[in-house]
Amino acid sequence: MSPPRRVAYNPLRSWSGFGGCAGGLSASGSEARKYLRLLAGCKTGIPRLGNAVPEPFHLFLLPKMAAIEILGLEKTYAVGFWRKQQKCALKPLQLSVEEGEIFGFLGPNGAGKTTTLKLLMGLARPTAGSARILGMEMDDPRVKAQIGFLPEQPYFYDYLTARELLTYYAHLSSVPASEISRKVSAMLERVGLADAPDVQLRKFSKGMLQRVGIAQAILHDPKVVFLDEPMSGLDPMGRREVRDLIEQLKRDGKTVFFSTHILSDAETLCDRVAILHLGQLRNVGVVSELTAGVRGKVELAWHGTMVPAEMKSLGAKCHESGDTVRAVLPEEKQDAALEVLRRERLRLISVTPLRASLEDYFVQQVKPVEATVGARA
């Protein structure tokens, strides 16, 4: 299937910007779409380019639409022997993911990432709220044909071979019978399992199972792919392969929504990320924009082995290697530290600003909440 057409200018996004909504298409974006639908005379969904649409509106009618719109999705479980206690797994969640985006859903273990994915897949019923995938309600059966899902740490039918498993899933996904054999072979090749198509899955390593998992998720050429912790438990080579596969999906025009707690992967891959903690959305945005707000650090390197006493009071973390000392300290203390080095007549080698990572931002977001929860406990 060919990737969706795009235009560089997204009027709906700009519109939502006027409405003051961060993070792309939101309520005001939906209003804009309703307005455009009225103009184009369409009854349902996003209007497509066609003869019925007046020419001047063509530009407006080809925006990137939201592939996933989560509208106040909430999940509370009844726990305890009598099921009288309520445990909130997910607080009302508002989120929008655009078509063709790689979207990272980040959070520590127990944050509510898997719960969100289960709600979107219809595996659990939401306590409140709803979601739309490709403009359709998430419980619309037509949605299921357009999505692929890889659960966390999947194990498949032990006694099936990779080829049998993919054939089975292709049948369930209503892939035309005449195409199944070709598609399965191509998919095995794509995920690097072409040399083990007839080996039973119980003999597969964890990395191979993960590759089979990804293969079954994208076999039927879905438009939106949901991956739950796709890199979890993989060795560096395996992670690299999964990263490459996700990047390939983006190049094919797919929308990828993946949850992870491996922040370096999210930083490398994602167009945007959302941070979830204790069932609550903390922030959404482009990685570079999110990390821009984190207080920067700077690394000073000087020749010798001497560490001036004042460095500690400036909050520097120093370590020696050979005849060089390196100190990492907050950006605002840089001038004071340089003054100390000048006073001690130490020969400066370099001053390197350290870019704040997603991990720094994540810690900054999560730590205060955990401290508060810990204090309450």
């Binding site: 039918y157 032990d158 006694y159 049998e164």
Partner: protein, 258 residues
């Protein structure tokens, strides 16, 4: 829609057949048939009776064990391994999954029963040297055993849709035992009074009436099985299994998969 049920059933069948535990049970059933032959040889003039009794009882018991052993894990195993998530995230409805699983296990049991039946008839031929007209009733007895498996499969699937494998096994096996004495339970209800009578009658009608489907003894004694019993048992098994399957679907439709 129907094709998805067929694919799920075929996959369940394939998975069960490739499971080595099933092979062991079939081998053991064949071993039991061989034992029947041995007992038949040391019995005087009642070889056929002993072989039919032992053979059909072995078919019934091993089928029950297989039905419970595989049935209890049909749903829970798929949840534990998260294979269910990859199935239900496709255009597959929950009822299609349950019905597919049911037919998959029922098919497994049918093939299994067929294999064991061949063993029983082989043993009969061995001790009698020829088949006789009354051997046809053995087929009816095997058919009734198959109907029992149908009900038991639906029951294990029902328990598997909301309970742990261990509890499902306990529930299913308990119901099989109680159901095997359903006629006695009805008799007991007839001689009691008040609340006990009401309770015993309700229990007698709720539990599956497996005793009505047990014609092993009469068939062993070469007594014919009434035609209306065949019809009634068939209708009863289909309705009972259908109702239990509906209950399993209703529970599973509402279930949050954790």
């Amino acid at each position: 829609m129907r094709t998805r049920v067929v694919y799920i059933a075929a996959n369940t069948f394939r998975e069960a057949v490739r499971d080595r535990v099933l092979y062991n049970l079939i081998a053991f059933a064949l071993l039991m048939s061989a034992a029947a032959v041995l007992v038949g040889q040391i019995s005087i003039d009642i070889e056929r009776l002993v072989v039919v009794n032992l053979g059909l009882t072995a078919v019934s018991l091993f089928g029950v064990v297989i039905a419970i052993f595989i049935g209890i894990g049909l749903v829970s195993k798929e949840i534990d391994k998260r294979t269910l998530y990859t199935v239900l995230s496709r255009p597959v409805r929950r009822w299609e999954f349950i019905v597919g699983k049911f037919f998959g296990l029922a098919g497994t049991l049918a093939v299994n029963t067929l294999c064991m039946a061949i063993g029983v008839f082989g043993a009969l031929l061995y001790v009698s040297h020829h088949f006789q007209a009354s051997d046809a009733w053995v087929l009816v007895a095997l058919y009734f055993i198959g109907l029992q498996f149908l009900i038991l499969t639906a029951l294990t699937l029902l328990f598997s849709s909301f309970s742990t494998p261990l509890m499902s096994a306990v529930f299913a096996f308990s119901l099989f035992i109680i159901g095997s004495f359903a006629e006695d339970l009805r008799g007991f209800a007839g001689i009691t009074h008040g609340f006990t009578r009401w309770l015993a009658t309700a229990a007698a009608y709720v539990v599956p009436n497996f005793s009505a489907m047990n014609v092993i003894t009469s068939v062993a004694h070469e007594q014919p099985v009434a035609g209306h019993l065949v019809l009634l048992n068939t209708a009863y098994a289909l309705v009972y299994a259908g109702m239990v399957l509906c209950a399993a679907v209703l529970i599973f439709e509402r279930r949050n998969l954790k």
